[in-house]
């Protein structure tokens, strides 16, 4: 009798063109090294070791109530050509995090996407990628094209053509220390932020949801610097996301890549810029940048740095101040509605 399903297990999977089912249970580290598998992770499963997908073109469906307690790596730490074309789809409550007791001193990620053509598809706000702050350490909920060994980019061969959608990303205060720097999402490109990466980042939620409450600043206020979302990778689309929380110490959306298109996002901002644009040829339009930290009345919702040439910033609603900062060259900046919300 032929076998139709292969039962998933901890450790290395080298199968190809198979259907692998992980029954409900607890697992240690898992690596999917084979290609072209259909993989089902049953409801109620727990992965206490790292879940690594180093094979290519696997389709992984994650059912309800599955926890990844020691992170997920799609690809390899320093090579974007490993683990390409995988599609990970969540169906319900999914939780991806790391054990703070195992943080290194450099860079700690819950979801590390390094393989080309990765399609990460959460289930909506119930797919949560969460990191917790630890004193003197760096925590990032999600990175694309970034090495864990030293936190650097993949240099001249950056990760390209990924889709990241329908997922909630958070970095939370641990109750005693805000840690060093922290990011909800860090998208690396090449060192010059010039090589087209072609990522689509859409329909995500960044930060702990819930309206900002000045009296409850422990869970939402990360005063130690860093920021929300950093996009260094060029030719990336950041569309229809909601950056909800307050990062009072940093910029919520920092755009360093060239030719980045940023459309129709709701962006909250704190004591630094809501959006800080430094790459050339950016398009930033139709965004709502709303102020929800009363610590400063002079912080601009948008800053366009001197390094940005020929960008278009139009049709945005920016809060807090009646003007934005524009030090760029040959940019088209206009038709924005600015001022206190």
């Amino acid at each position: 009798m032929s076998k139709i399903n292969i039962e998933g297990h901890s450790g290395l999977h080298r199968e190809e063109y198979e259907r692998i089912v992980f029954p409900r249970g607890n697992y240690a580290a898992v690596e999917i090294a084979g290609d072209y598998n259909v993989i089902v992770i049953n409801a109620g499963s727990r992965f206490d070791g790292k879940f690594v997908v180093s094979g290519d073109y696997n389709k992984i469906t994650i059912h309800n109530d599955v926890n990844f307690n020691n992170g997920i790596l799609i690809g390899a730490d320093a090579d974007a050509s490993v683990g390409v074309g995988n599609h990970i789809k969540c169906l319900g409550k999914t939780f991806i995090t790391r054990d703070p007791n195992q943080y290194n001193d450099h860079t700690n990620y819950a979801l590390q996407i390094n393989g080309h053509y990765t399609h990460w598809e959460g289930s909506g706000m119930n797919t949560k990628v969460v990191m917790q702050t630890v004193a003197s350490k760096i925590a990032m909920a999600c990175v694309i094209g970034k090495k864990a060994s030293d936190g650097a980019s993949l240099d001249d061969s950056p990760t390209q053509w990924c889709i990241l959608e329908k997922t909630q990303f958070m970095v939370l205060y641990d109750g005693s220390n805000h840690g060093t720097s922290k990011y909800l999402l860090y998208v690396n490109g090449d060192a010059g932020s010039d090589i087209a990466c072609g990522h689509l980042i859409t329909n995500n939620w960044f930060g702990s949801l819930g309206e900002y409450d000045a009296s409850v600043n422990t869970g939402q206020d990360t005063t130690a610097g860093g920021g929300g979302v950093i996009i260094d990778g060029a030719t990336t689309r950041f569309v229809e996301n909601h950056v909800q929380p307050v990062y009072t110490g940093g910029t919520n959306l920092y755009l360093n890549g060239r030719r980045v298109i940023t459309l129709f996002n709701q962006l909250a901002h704190g004591s630094s810029f809501g959006a800080d644009i430094h790459g050339d040829n950016n398009i930033f339009a139709g965004n709502l940048i709303y102020w929800n930290d009363g610590k400063s009345t002079s912080t601009k919702p948008i800053n366009i740095g001197s390094g940005s040439d020929r960008s278009v910033i139009a049709g945005n609603r920016g809060g807090n101040t009646s003007s934005i900062t524009d030090n760029s060259t040959n940019s088209s900046v206009g038709n924005n509605e600015l001022g206190a919300l």
């Binding site: 399903n5 049953n42 641990d174 702990s208 339009a285 609603r317 809060g319």
Partner: protein, 405 residues
């Protein structure tokens, strides 16, 4: 090499096998009683329903959280389904016919995933708020949102029957409303006064018992709801819901904030408005209104679909289509897109209104909507005086729009 097992053999030999066995699903061929459903849900985890179901979790007290149910191709349901457990995930395979209401009563964190051509009449996400934010890295971190996602326009959220006839007498209401005979709305999230399930009049299922969860306390709207990728349709909006003097909307009816609508299409739908929303911070993106069809003369005059403060409507395609070729006996002449709250945006939308009149404007920025942005709109209409952007407050950025006949 791991030891495998034969999924199909497993299924055929034990069609009603319920246990925590290893495998992809625990298969249930049919459940026809509430007790059987409850037993299945309590005993299993990945549950595959393969037959007709009378009721699922029709229980006031049973709240078994975090279950994952898959309704296999061919599943039908013959009664309203009531879910009261948090983080319930419902996966509907193509070919499922769920032509009765799916009611989630304070079942926060629930997901409905409809894959392919699934037929439904409506989904009711109810509850109050749900914005609990934890400061610890626990299992309950942040909020517990609701999510519905289809796969595209092939996923249908449509009434087969008309809206229930309005009657001011509670005693004559139909407690079965919301099925194939009586329309109920499509995505209905507890807007007080429009909620047949929960309002206080008698003869409604949930008003009889206090043992149901939030639904028994009146129409309460949850926050953080994500609805995407399907076609919606309502029939005969001239008939409004009982006791409310109102009518639900084709895309969404709610009083809550933080709603995310994406890739929805109201196709050939008859509705007074396509969104009826009480809260702020809506994100409506890439939705389509493909026709408002009402050949009868007694239709409710459609009005603008208002968004409130700090909302964004983008990529909206508003098409007023003809009910038949050459006939313009179909109209949204009472208004199209509207903004009634401060600091909102309507950007990069396309509006096509061929039978408009002075009763409404294609895009309406209400006098209460200060500091709005309406930018990059392309409006094609029969008359540019009302087929245009009406800017009542005059203090926003209403520019860069094109209006032609």
């Amino acid at each position: 090499m791991s030891e495998g097992f034969n999924y199909f053999s497993h299924q055929s030999l034990t069609p009603n096998y319920i246990s925590g066995t290893k495998g992809e699903y625990e298969n249930i061929s049919a459940v026809t009683t509430s007790a059987a459903c409850t037993a299945v849900i309590e005993a299993s985890n990945n549950i595959m329903f393969t037959g007709n179901m009378a009721q699922v979790d029709w229980s006031a007290t049973n709240e078994v959280a975090r279950k994952d149910m898959t309704w296999k191709t061919g599943v039908t349901i013959s009664d309203l389904h009531y879910f009261n457990a948090e983080y319930t995930t419902l996966n509907l395979q193509s070919g499922v016919s769920a032509m009765r209401p799916l009611l989630f009563d304070a079942a926060y964190g629930s997901n409905v995933n409809a894959m392919g051509g699934v037929d439904m009449t409506n989904i009711n996400f109810t509850g109050s708020g749900n914005g609990t934010v934890s400061t610890t890295l626990g299992d309950e971190v942040s909020t517990k949102p609701y999510t519905f996602q289809g796969t595209g326009y092939e996923t249908f959220m449509k009434h087969a029957g008309e809206m229930t006839i309005q009657d001011a007498n509670p005693g004559v209401q139909d407690p079965a409303m919301g099925d194939v005979v009586d329309g109920f709305g499509t995505f209905h999230c507890g807007k007080e006064g429009y909620d047949h399930m929960s309002h206080s009049y008698t003869n409604h299922r949930f008003s009889h018992s206090g043992s149901y969860r939030a639904i028994s306390h009146g129409g309460q709207s949850p926050e953080y709801v994500d609805i995407r990728n399907c076609t919606t349709k309502m029939i005969n909006a001239s008939r409004t819901m009982s006791n409310s003097n109102g009518a639900p909307a084709s895309l969404l009816t709610t009083n809550g904030s933080y709603y995310y609508l994406s890739f929805l299409m109201a196709d050939d739908s008859n509705h007074p408005m396509f969104m009826k929303i009480g809260g702020d911070k809506l994100m409506s993106r890439n939705c389509v209104i493909a026709g408002y069809t009402d050949a009868a003369s007694n239709h409710n005059e459609p009005g603008p679909s208002w968004q409130n403060a700090k909302s964004i409507t983008s990529g909206f395609q508003f098409l007023e289509m003809e009910s038949s070729v050459g006939s313009v006996n179909t109209n949204h002449d009472g208004g199209g897109l509207g903004s009634i709250g401060d600091d909102s945006l309507i950007v990069a939308c396309s509006v096509e209104v061929q039978s408009g009149d002075a009763a409404g404007d294609a895009v309406y920025i209400h006098s209460n909507a200060n500091d709005n942005v309406a930018y990059g709109l392309n409006i094609h209409s029969n008359n540019t005086s009302y087929g245009n952007v009406l800017d009542q407050p005059g203090d926003g950025t209403i520019t860069g729009n094109e209006s032609t006949t």
